[in-house]
Amino acid sequence: MVHPQRYKTVGLAAWALSLFSACVVALLGLSPSAWAQTPPPLPDAIPLAGNQVSLSQTVTVRVLEINRIAISGDVLIPIAEAEAGTPLSPVTHSGSTYALTVNGSDKKIVGSLDTEFPAGMELSVELTPPPGATATRRILSSDPVDLVKGVNLIAATNLGITYTGHADITVAPTGTAGISRRVTFTLTSN
């Protein structure tokens, strides 16, 4: 590493030598055009300390609001057990999960069915809330209902979904195909 002071000293010497040379040229009557051409650079040219050149660019970082939710697979809830003389027992399924990413504040998850179940059947759902949020068990219908509220700045996976199916005795057996309904969870602003 060369000390900056040394640059200054050598630079000064070069400047003095240039001045001296210019005087010699003037004395000898050399025409400026004889030497005012682009000089060949010396490989060992020494710069003045502090020589530098800069360039700037404007870079903007923009983060859009991101609300993502995904749920795992389809669910089958067979309602088949009942003791003689008693109503059919509700059946609970808790193997499903959901994941969500929210980089905004005060979001909620609502749930709804694509079409209503026949009379005498109902499906309720309860979601495990992400940290900081609250959840309520609700019966689903075609009108969206609030399931989780107060979702803020969270990325979480494997949050539980618990469904409970219920059918009363008036519901005719559906066979193995059952009655399918599409449950939609929507992440939205509160």
Partner: protein, 161 residues
């Protein structure tokens, strides 16, 4: 007498070269304002980084001593993360510049090296490279709707090492 004039002229030409030609640092492509937009995330995951590699620069150190390229930024009320890496695409004959890993650009940072050991010499002191920017944000950082965009003035400086 004419021989003496010739000799003196040669000496003078050599001497005047000690005031070196200006060094150069230029954008070859790009160079205008860039916007990196983070808009995607997998459910349950963090937002996906946004990148841009559309800016190419040229340098000619011409300092007579080993040179380097440094970077800094000004970005008031910065909320998200921005990184830059110089990917050298060509450099002068007889040169072996040292590329540096990605540098995080933080408001008020000191100059950080992104390229060092640009050796002096008419052939070795020049080169070109691609500036690769990467913007990153965590869910916990929120979004621009809340905080506004981060605007950086990123400055590259070529100077003696």
């Amino acid at each position: 007498m004419s021989l003496l004039r010739y000799i003196l002229a040669v000496i003078i030409m050599g001497t005047s070269a000690t005031s070196v030609d200006a060094q150069r640092l230029e954008f070859l492509t790009g160079g205008g304002p860039i916007t990196l937009e983070i808009s995607e995330a997998p459910p349950g995951g963090e937002p996906v980084d946004a990148t841009d590699a559309g800016t190419r620069i040229f340098w000619d150190a011409n300092l007579g001593v080993p040179a380097k390229l440094v970077v800094s930024t000004m970005a008031t009320s910065q909320h998200f993360r921005l990184f830059v890496e110089l990917q050298v695409t060509s450099y002068g004959t007889g040169s072996m510049v040292d590329m540096h890993p990605e540098v995080e650009l933080v408001d008020g940072m000191f100059d950080e090296d992104i390229l060092t050991n640009i050796l002096p010499g008419s052939r070795s002191q020049q080169g070109t490279g691609l500036l690769r920017y990467r913007a990153s944000a965590r869910v916990a950082d929120g979004n621009s709707q809340t905080h506004g965009d981060d605007t950086h003035t990123v400055t590259y400086t070529l100077l003696a090492q």
